[in-house]
Amino acid sequence: MSGDSAASAPGRSGARPERPVGRKRSGSRWGRFLESGLLLQGGMQGSPVIRLFMRWVRRPLLPVMRLWRRNIQLKVVVTTLLMSLGVVLLLGFVVIGQVRNGLLDAKVKASQSQATGGFAVAKQRADEAASGTGDDVATADGRPAQNVIQWMSDLVSSLSSGGQGAFDVVTLPVSDADGTGGRGPRASGEVNWSKSVPADLRERIGSSTTAAQSYTRIVYNNETQDSQPGLVIGKQVNDPNGDPYQLYYLFPLTQEEKSLSLVKGTLATAGLFVVVLLGAIAWLVVRQVVTPVRMAAGIAERLSAGRLQERMKVTGEDDIARLGEAFNKMAQNLQLKISQLEDLSRMQRRFVSDVSHELRTPLTTVRMAADVIHEAREDFDPITARSAELLADQLDRFESLLADLLEISRFDAGAAALEAEPIDLRDVVRRVVSGAEPLAERKGTQIRIRGDQQPVVAEADARRVERVLRNLVVNAVEHGDGKDVVVKLAAAGGAVAVAVRDYGVGLKPGEATRVFSRFWRADPARARTTGGTGLGLSIALEDARLHGGWLQAWGEPGGGSQFRLTLPRTADEPLRGSPIPLEPKDSRRNRGLDDAGLPCGGDGEKRATVPAQPVSGPVPQGSKRDPIPPRVAPTADPTALPGNGSRVVPRPASGTRPQDEAAPGKQSAPDEGPSGREGTGRDEGAGGRIGGDPAARGPRDEDNGSAGPGGRESEPGDVDRQGEASRGR
């Protein structure tokens, strides 16, 4: 019926305010719909055109989708609009249904009584006519029909005239076939009976003698008169001849529909207002909450950017205000702590600076006095002369110790600053090597430089890099037992590296980590011939870290050692690997030699290849627990994963350490991949301790034999990705 279709009107109008906002959302949905729908087809046709089209459709929606994802206010407002729209629609349906029922009930009742009256009149007229003309029926066959036709027309006009246009009357024969003989259809008021009276109603009436009704649309033959909704009530009655015909009353419902659409219009307008207002209210309410949250977010960003004095504005005492207060308190505490730390750092730096000055001035005097005495020692008696020598020597040592201590404390105070500029490491290496020549000559060592055909340029602090390399070269010469020292340069990817290789006493397992510890000495019993301070490598490590680089050590007892400095080509770029493998190709294990230098089945016993460990970090306990080797993300902060990258291969004390037994290949190929790191990194702590135990070595040797020396070969250009242990904190 017409009411049904009209009832959706408030909904339609109610949808309007929602549209501008809602479409964005539904737009993205639509996009997805389209996509999924088209993708199905596309899957069958495999057409890139469709994908292109989808991209074209989606592109303008992307900012909208992003806005939707990021803007909680928009989300809340849209949700509120949609939900209130639903509620309004529901309410509209209910209200309109009620109103319609109320209006129609009254009309139907009135119509029914009207129709019943009309049927009664028709019956009465038929009876009267039948009694008045009873004789004629038998005598003249054509006349009665003539009479009935006339009678029927009279009946229709008289019945309809009673309604004053409030209703129309239609008479129809019982069946269409019966339409001859003057009992054809008649209708008052130009009603098109065939369209206005529903067929099923006719059937129903034909099959019973009671009245029946139906809603319909009254159509007029008259072109100028519009069709209108109406109620039709019909009944089968007899004409004066006793033949049945159908009499219909058609009541137009124009008035009711007018009332109903008025109600609908009102409801729609009200609904629209309600929805819009709800949206506005939601916007306002959300804004109240969101504004402080956004402010907090903005201020938090500024705080983290270092503007510690930023605070939130706090008004009132509500939850938002509490949030603000808590936030401000947090910011204040942060600021306090940070400024305390800054003060501490400043004090430390100041102290170092003061100590430096206060110590250095008298030391200068002592130094000069000692030198004057030293110069004149030939005039002294032997005891005094020797004392003068000792004095001068130990003053040298004292001086360098003081310098190193101050340097270290500068690092500790975070006062060390990097002055990076592009430098060619070849120049630095040459300077360092020429500086170390006198010492090398004394030791009978030859220093060779490899890989200096190409420039090896990196952004670095030349002074610091030189200090690191001088340290490494001097160390190599000192511990090289007079054998050659090879300084190798290489650049690859985003990194440059310098490796200093010696063939001296080497390092015992575990020592590769400890060499970087402060005041650590390889062999306390050994003569301190050159009198290092014990801080050189610690400072070198700090220097490397300051560059964001690595300083790592590898060594095997009796097989020499290699120290490798890896620096990023450009400052601030994280290191991913080193152009030089930490373990040199000519390591005993790589050559497949045993301890005595004789070829063997691939004894890898001397795998004391521990890269630099962060000295200051809390080291070893965590290393074994660490289940995830940091190989996958080589940029991981090594101090966070103590022991990682270390490559000492432990020898199982009992020969049954499952992880060692299970992965011999890993340990034998530390340079090659994640697995290598995994195996070794985990074992570092143990390796250092167990490694020295000769009784425990047997099983390891077999492992290495199976791995084979060939597997260990790594190309010179290989990027050794592991062991960023010495990366900066």
């Binding site: 250095r360 001035t361 008298p362 030391l363 200068t364 005097t365 130094r367 000069m368 300077r431």
Partner: protein, 229 residues
């Protein structure tokens, strides 16, 4: 040879022990030291002593070393060697910018000190009559003068040496290390900031527009060279 080395050295240091020790060492090397312990009196002592070189401690009571350095430089080009306990960047650079020619970090060896002093005084040993041109400048090496269109430009001995070193080989690009060796007399690599700071100071005197140097040209990544004549 030693007779050339003779020179008056003013030691500005508040540490009496160090000053005395410096005196002993300097006298031993044939210099004539004089002393002043207070920054405020340093300038007066300088005027009175007319030293050939000033050894200046950066940390002084009264006026600090930087200020004294600036005052002395304002009225004389005499070589100034700073004594500093701090090798930290800022102190040294500030000292150099305030006019010091060289610096030496405590604790130093007497030989080191003497070598630095001699390197600064060496200039007077080599009077070679020579005329050089660099850009639109005319340099009279023996007469120790630099002229632009007849106008003479006052340079300190060190700045003069630097300019002469560049002008003698206008085709050559000098690395900072080479300049350190030739001008400052460092055998081994030293602080290249010395070169940077003094090139700036030199430029501020000889360039028409120090922002766009034409006399002392920077060769990026290498060093400096003389501008085309």
């Amino acid at each position: 040879m030693m007779s050339f080395m003779k020179g008056r050295v003013l030691v500005v240091d508040d540490d009496t022990a160090l000053a005395e020790m410096l005196g002993i060492v300097l006298r031993g090397e044939g210099f004539e030291p004089s002393f002043v312990a207070d920054g405020d009196k340093a300038l007066a002592a300088f005027r009175e002593a007319k030293p050939d070189l000033v050894l200046l401690d950066l940390m002084l009571p009264g006026r600090d070393g930087i200020e004294v350095c600036r005052l002395i430089r304002a009225e004389s080009g005499v070589p100034i060697v700073m004594l500093t306990a701090k090798s930290d960047t800022v102190d040294v650079v500030v000292g150099l910018e305030s006019g010091a020619d060289d610096y030496i970090v405590k604790p130093f060896k007497p030989k080191e000190l003497v070598a630095r002093i001699r390197a600064r005084l060496r200039r007077s040993e080599e009077p070679a009559p020579e005329q050089l041109a660099i850009g639109d400048l005319v340099i009279d090496v023996a007469g120790h003068s630099v002229k632009r269109e007849g106008q003479s430009i006052a340079l300190t001995p060190l700045e003069f040496d630097l300019l002469v070193a560049l002008a003698r080989k206008p085709w050559q690009v000098f690395t900072r290390e080479v300049l350190l060796e030739q001008v400052w007399g460092y055998r081994h690599a030293a602080d290249t900031r010395l070169v940077n700071v003094h090139v700036q100071r030199l430029r501020s005197k000889v360039e028409k527009d120090p922002e766009k140097p034409e006399i002392v040209v920077t060769v990026r990544g290498v060093g400096y060279k003389a501008g085309p004549s």
